[in-house]
């Protein structure tokens, strides 16, 4: 069986990739994708911890993941709606051009 920490390292990497994407991308949709990657990294953690926990019958981690996938979907829906709202005003989704609020 693959040891637990392999999964943890992988999820930490996935989280970092997502974070890097979210911080460096200028396109709002790509930032959103980065955030989804970060959420999925956390989901992977839950599954791994659940699988290696002393009593996997409790299904705690599994349940958490199912809920968090649903939440992530809702979040993507709201996010895309907001991106469309931005596009209507600015005709672009480039975040560096969306800068009327400052101070």
């Amino acid at each position: 069986m693959v040891p637990l920490y392999y999964y943890l390292i992988f999820s930490a990497l996935l989280f970092s990739v997502g974070l890097a994407g979210a911080l460096t991308r200028r396109n709002a949709i790509l930032v959103l994708i980065g955030i989804e990657l970060m959420l999925n990294a956390a989901n992977l953690n839950f599954i791994a911890f659940w699988r290696y926990s002393p009593d996997p019958e409790a299904l705690t981690g599994m349940m958490f993941v199912i809920f968090s996938i649903a939440v992530a979907a809702a979040e993507a829906a709201v996010g895309l709606a907001l991106i469309i709202a931005i596009y209507r005003h600015y005709r672009t989704v480039d975040l560096t051009k969306v800068d009327s609020l400052k101070g």
């Binding site: 943890l8 989280f15 997502g18 974070l19 979210a22 709002a28 930032v31 959103l32 955030i35 970060m38 959420l39 990294a41 956390a42 989901n43 953690n45 839950f46 791994a48 911890f49 926990s53 002393p54 705690t60 981690g61 349940m63 958490f64 809920f67 968090s68 939440v71 809702a74 979040e75 709201v78 996010g79 709606a81 907001l82 991106i83 709202a85 931005i86 209507r88 005003h89 600015y90 975040l95 969306v98 800068d99 009327s100 609020l101 101070g103």
Partner: protein
């Protein structure tokens, strides 16, 4: 769960159900019946139904006997998914009152045609906050946090004609999404370390554990998530933009209700689940744990919030930076890590929420009449509309912490709790810093008052006409701020009893 039937569960969650039903009813009535009616009339009907739902929920919370299973201690259902005790009920009542005031402030505004959706989202956000307050389970914390946040993102974007509103919402959303990911990752690590997602079990697993890197990472990531919700530095970047761009009633709601709920659950999580992993935040005696992390966040928030507020020219933006500073003060209550700290934290944040609701109410009216919320548009308000000027004076002085207003007593109690906590007054350095910073804050609050009372109105000095309903609401809020300042035991006495009862569990 053994020994509890579905009807009893339904009875317990009745307040949340009432508010959700009110949300659906408001949506249905507005879309089915009121579509053709004039805007004002629609807003009044919708807000009346929404208010009715909140009112019934408050009545239920106050009238129903505390948890049936035992007289004093609380009740925790389904592995902490739904906890109920006197303290939780008190905080829920405070949340519902803030929702009522938010509804009242929105009634006169005309930034949207989608009134049903707007009111329904306010109510859904409230449901999220209520569940958040009564959760003792990481899953429930995450879901209700997201329910609240997602509703608030949409409320921020609700002024579709305004570019700033959309931009503010996108920034709020992107920061919020990122912090949600951090929270979830932190919670997953907590689950991995403790093997459970229930607060009490996490405590029993972790309180004896050595603080290693993984636990510290889990704590820091959880703090990041909540730090975002309460707008503490360095996770505050969304706040000024969101407050400025959002429609004023939405901003008021973000600043009041959502703050109260997030602070409460943040304190509960830290004090209950992570008790035993505190570390030490005393000056030059830092040991790893959550206390030094939160102490750093608090100090940064007070410093940056107060200094950045000085240079702001827009009152909504000024209130945002002052909110950051206030988050810093309120964290002192969490840092004292005691029952007294908890009661001072709740008292402070509830009175702050009411004050800031009133301030935003005044800003909403001025913004509507003069076109913007810049500090100069308040010039001569004291003569143009004396009542409004007086209310704003009460709110600003309370935020600055001038006796005999609620803000003063809140700060006083908070600082006392923080000084008394820990060995050898370890938090003294932070309290001294907080007092110094709150002296700084007086400058920018007085700047607003100077515009209102000293600077004459430039172009338009005619009196401002304010509807009777707004006058009543704002005077009521100002009155509450004064009364809670003069007689703090009205709220504080209840809080202390409730916390004592809750801790006997």
């Amino acid at each position: 769960m053994s020994g509890i039937s579905y009807s009893e569960i339904l009875k317990l969650v009745a307040p949340e159900m009432l508010v959700s039903l009110a949300a659906l009813a408001v949506l249905a009535i507005d879309l089915l019946v009121m579509r053709e009616a004039p805007q004002r009339y629609r807003f009044w009907t919708g807000a009346a139904f929404a208010g009715l739902g909140c009112g019934l929920a408050i009545a239920w919370l106050l009238a129903m006997n505390p948890p049936p299973h035992s007289m004093s201690a609380g009740l925790s259902l389904l592995q902490g998914t739904y906890a109920d005790d006197v303290l939780v009920r008190l905080v829920k009542v405070a949340l519902l009152v803030m929702t009522l005031f938010t509804l009242a402030i929105s009634m006169e505004s005309n930034f949207t045609d989608h009134i049903g959706e707007y009111l329904a989202l306010i109510l859904l956000a409230t449901v999220g906050m209520m569940f958040l307050v009564s959760s003792e389970n990481l899953l429930m914390v995450f879901i209700s946090l997201e329910l609240t946040s997602l509703s608030l993102y949409i409320l921020t974007a609700f002024n579709k004609r305004n570019v700033e509103s959309a931009e503010a919402a996108l920034k709020y959303f992107l920061f919020g999404g990122m912090s949600a990911a951090f929270t979830l990752f932190g919670l997953s690590l907590v689950y991995g370390l403790a093997g459970s997602i229930q607060f009490s079990e996490i405590y029993s697993k972790l309180h004896a554990a050595k603080i290693d890197t993984l636990l510290l990472a889990a704590i820091v990531m959880t703090v990041i998530g909540f730090g975002f919700k309460i707008a503490a530095v360095p996770f505050h970047l969304w706040a000024p933009d969101a407050y400025q761009g959002a429609p004023t009633p939405s901003a008021a709601f973000i600043a009041s209700g959502s703050k109260v709920a997030s602070f409460f659950i943040f304190a509960k999580l830290m004090m209950q689940a992570f008790a035993g992993a505190e570390g030490n935040g005393a000056w030059r005696h830092f040991t790893p744990g959550w206390l030094p992390v939160v102490a750093t966040v608090a100090a940064c928030s007070m410093l940056l919030g107060n200094l950045a507020a000085i240079v702001q020219g827009n009152v909504k933006r000024l209130l945002a930076y002052s909110a950051i500073a206030h988050a810093g003060y309120a964290l002192l209550g969490l840092l004292s890590n005691s029952q007294q700290g908890m009661s001072s934290l709740i008292y402070y944040i509830v009175t702050y929420g009411l004050t800031v609701l009133g301030a935003f109410g005044v800003v909403a009216i001025v913004e509507e009449r003069t076109g913007d919320a810049s500090i100069s548009s308040f010039a001569g308000l004291g003569r143009r509309q004396p009542l409004l000027g007086l209310c704003m004076m009460v709110f600003m002085l309370s935020l600055a912490g001038i006796p005999p207003l609620a803000g003063f007593f809140g700060k006083f109690y908070l600082f006392t709790a923080a000084i008394g906590a820990g060995k050898d007054m370890g938090m003294l350095w932070l309290v001294i810093f907080a007092i110094a910073m709150s002296a700084v804050s007086l400058y920018y609050y007085l700047q607003v008052l100077k515009q209102i009372y000293v600077v004459p109105a430039v172009e338009d000095s005619r009196p401002i006409v304010v509807p009777v309903s707004s006058r009543i609401i704002l005077s009521l809020l100002a009155l509450v701020v004064v009364v809670l300042g003069c007689a703090p035991e009205l709220l504080l006495g209840r809080l202390i009893t409730a916390i004592k009862l809750a801790s006997h569990q």
